[in-house]
Symmetry: C2
Subunit: 186 residues, 2 copies
């Protein structure tokens, strides 16, 4: 299995709705947006692909792409041709099994994020998000910027900053330079 690297200029498409499926992609760098054209001709953003994510997994089992994949900024993708993958999977069922597991874990993760969004209160939502990713000592390391974390959990960064400040004032959390520590009894 030898993915080829491919650079996509901002605004260009990796593939378009209706194109025969070519394979699976991995975003190495940049930002790709999956956009679906609806029957009424409107564009609906289906997903924002972030670096490190695979996308178009469903291409393995369908014959044409059902959305556009457009590079928002200059991006690099790794291309895994479907036929090579399928061949690889056939020769090596363990690989397929691994692929399947990754998907299963992805489903899990997505559901968790979705459930998180169900929580309306910024304070509670943040607490939940932190609880979900803290270690046994209650220490949470936020990877990336707080701004990105805010987006991840569906808040504006301002709302996040404010809520964090409030949580700290009310002693629910302590912020240190290497993470956020949850106060157990809240």
């Amino acid at each position: 299995m030898s993915p080829t690297r491919q650079s996509i200029a901002a605004g260009n498409a990796v593939f378009r709705q209706g194109d025969p499926t070519f394979g699976l992609f991995y975003l190495a760098l940049g930002h790709v947006r999956l956009v679906r054209l609806t029957a009424s001709g409107d564009e609906v953003i289906t997903h924002n692909v972030r670096p490190g994510e695979f996308f178009a997994e469903a291409s393995l089992s369908s014959s044409s792409y059902h959305c556009d994949a457009v590079a928002v900024c200059d991006s690099d993708v790794l291309v895994y041709p479907a036929n090579e993958l399928i061949e690889e999977f056939r020769k090596n069922p363990a690989e397929l099994w691994q692929f399947t597991s990754r998907l299963a874990r992805q489903v899990q993760g997505l559901r968790t994020r979705l459930t998180l969004r169900q929580i309306r209160s910024a304070r509670e939502r943040i607490l939940q998000a932190l609880r979900l990713q803290c270690d046994t000592h209650g220490l949470c390391r936020i990877e990336g910027t707080l701004k990105h974390f805010a987006e991840e959990i569906g808040l504006t960064h301002e709302a996040l900053y404010r809520a964090l400040a409030e949580l700290e004032r009310s002693k629910a959390i302590v912020r240190t330079d290497n993470g956020i520590v949850l106060n157990q009894n809240v």
Copy 2:
């Protein structure tokens, strides 16, 4: 592959965090909640399982459950023992392939829903949701109750009713007894 049906009384668990994995489940009837116990001892709802959904897919590749599955009300589940499934998949790779595709489609769907939640305005979110599920004529059939639809897209039912009324007033949609028709040019 012969799933066994099992009834779970309200409040009882299908499985508990840490239990060795037994298999995969399908909710036939009722309501099951996946709850994770965090390091700090808090309960975090990871997912609400609705009738017709599989759950604990990840159990196929991990050796113990990582959350509790608790019946919110009396529920019926179908149990697919992991070893039987794995055996089945080994004998019949097409089955595994199908299982994988289902997961891939699930990932797609979940991402779409997640992206939908990114839209803050009730009006716009509803429009997007409708666009995503309307047919070529712009006709959307809402399955289930409007109340359920509201929950699905993350709004209170009141907010949904109001926004729908507003959309109708502004001629963006027309509501008929067999669905909602989108006005193309909005």
